[in-house]
Symmetry: C2
Subunit: 317 residues, 2 copies
Amino acid sequence: MASEFAIIEQYFSDIGKAADNTLLGVGDDAAVVDLPPGQQLVVAMDTLIEGTHFPQDTSPADIAYKSLAVNLSDLAAMGATPAWFLMSLSLDSDDPQWLSRFAGSLKKTADEYGLQLIGGDTCRGKLAISIQIAGHLPNDQFVTRQGANAGDIILVSGELGNAAMGLAQQQGKLELAPALQSKCALALNRPRPRLELGPFLRRFASSAIDISDGLVGDLKHILKASACGARVRLEALPVDPWIEQHGAWDYALGAGDDYEICCTLPAELSAEVDTWNHANPDCRLTPIGEITESGYYLQDGDHRIDLDQRQGYRHFA
Amino acid sequence: MASEFAIIEQYFSDIGKAADNTLLGVGDDAAVVDLPPGQQLVVAMDTLIEGTHFPQDTSPADIAYKSLAVNLSDLAAMGATPAWFLMSLSLDSDDPQWLSRFAGSLKKTADEYGLQLIGGDTCRGKLAISIQIAGHLPNDQFVTRQGANAGDIILVSGELGNAAMGLAQQQGKLELAPALQSKCALALNRPRPRLELGPFLRRFASSAIDISDGLVGDLKHILKASACGARVRLEALPVDPWIEQHGAWDYALGAGDDYEICCTLPAELSAEVDTWNHANPDCRLTPIGEITESGYYLQDGDHRIDLDQRQGYRHFA
């Protein structure tokens, strides 16, 4: 097998374009970076493990894409702009074809989002990709889970449930029509981090979160951090008509893997949502309910479901 | 099993003291940090996997310590001061006793080295700890592998080979006397990152590297980056007398897991080494040879061994 150093040199020494602030990249004991003036650094870390976070037969290109995308989604939820990343890659073999496909997709994705790989390591083990990502943000403009207030509108980006339907289809638990199947497979394997929302979130949002663990569970993190409640309206959820027709709301509410953003907005700024949606039809924001003083409910017509009794998808559940 | 969020909240929300520059720590989609004025950020990432980087019966306290120490050693090799870290923890169970011992040792080590855990994730999988560490450094004073010049003295910190002897003893391949056994077990499980060398390296060193993969292989990285050669003198290597008596030089030359620093110094600064050693008896620097124009040799009396034919310890070897 090739050595760790040979793998890094051959496949991972040229991923993404160097920024002016990167003083030393891949190839030393550590990398050295600077911060642009007036900016703060936003950092997150997420690991994808074969069998847990993606099925064993996932293509190397999809694995590379998704490893970056899930981390980029964390930056998006803070309102940050991507800058650089480190990767620890655990490999069970060093198949050159697998590695070059993985590296090719990683490079393409890094270029697309303006990121550079500046360091990390490779080691032998079960296939796992651990990425630590960093982005920039104008001083003190980061958006957290804390800050939602009673009366705020709750918004979500995109459509919910498609990734989970894609997984169910892949596992043979669902049989979808070809067009819907393609849409759901794309949502599962190529989720688009909502980085374009950054300026909107920084300017208007009172709180924001990435709903990768499912809307119900992740919105609850906002409620806990902000010490408030929420009422979500089922009929307002942005879903594919299939979910509505089949009453399969669990895909949208709890299944997770949708890398969409849930945020809250003071009600008096509601016109900003229309302005945003007009200018950004591919990243629509949909009002799905309101922040309240307390309690956590799903309103389904006249029927009210207590969401405090439900759980989002948990890795340890 | 407990959820990912419960594990983070219970065990990992209070590791290390918050620095003034940490604006948002554990508990959101990402953390937010600032850089002190006049400083640059040094970042590295290293993963430890059970079975590959530590034996299956290693204590949780030793695993936590070593996960941080190997990353701190990368900062030490750059001349940086520790600031914060992110951790991705893959667990095969959530045994509360294991977790509290692991977290307790992580906290103690983080406090000792002035680091704070500001983010990361936990997931289910084979036991693996991926840490991304960051440190600070005065602007443009980082020390790289590039910069060694013919005539420079080659120095190493501490003693070489003890960690590898500790591992051999643990695996039943060696039978050491009790005192030496303790010293070697400590070197294996509790390596001390040489952070105190920072000011010396920034001021005097022409290049530096962490020799965790073994002296011969890691010094070669300096030679490659600096486009030069080296002559190492066997009898100069700082080793326990046991290695000399048994001619077991492989432990010191190639086995790795010594988290010592190898650096180079212009010959006219050799008096600085004496000054350093006088003031820092616990982190002695030993001259082991010279940088040359080309070639890579080990001098053993009249015998000259070509080191370009040897390999350091490689994860994929």
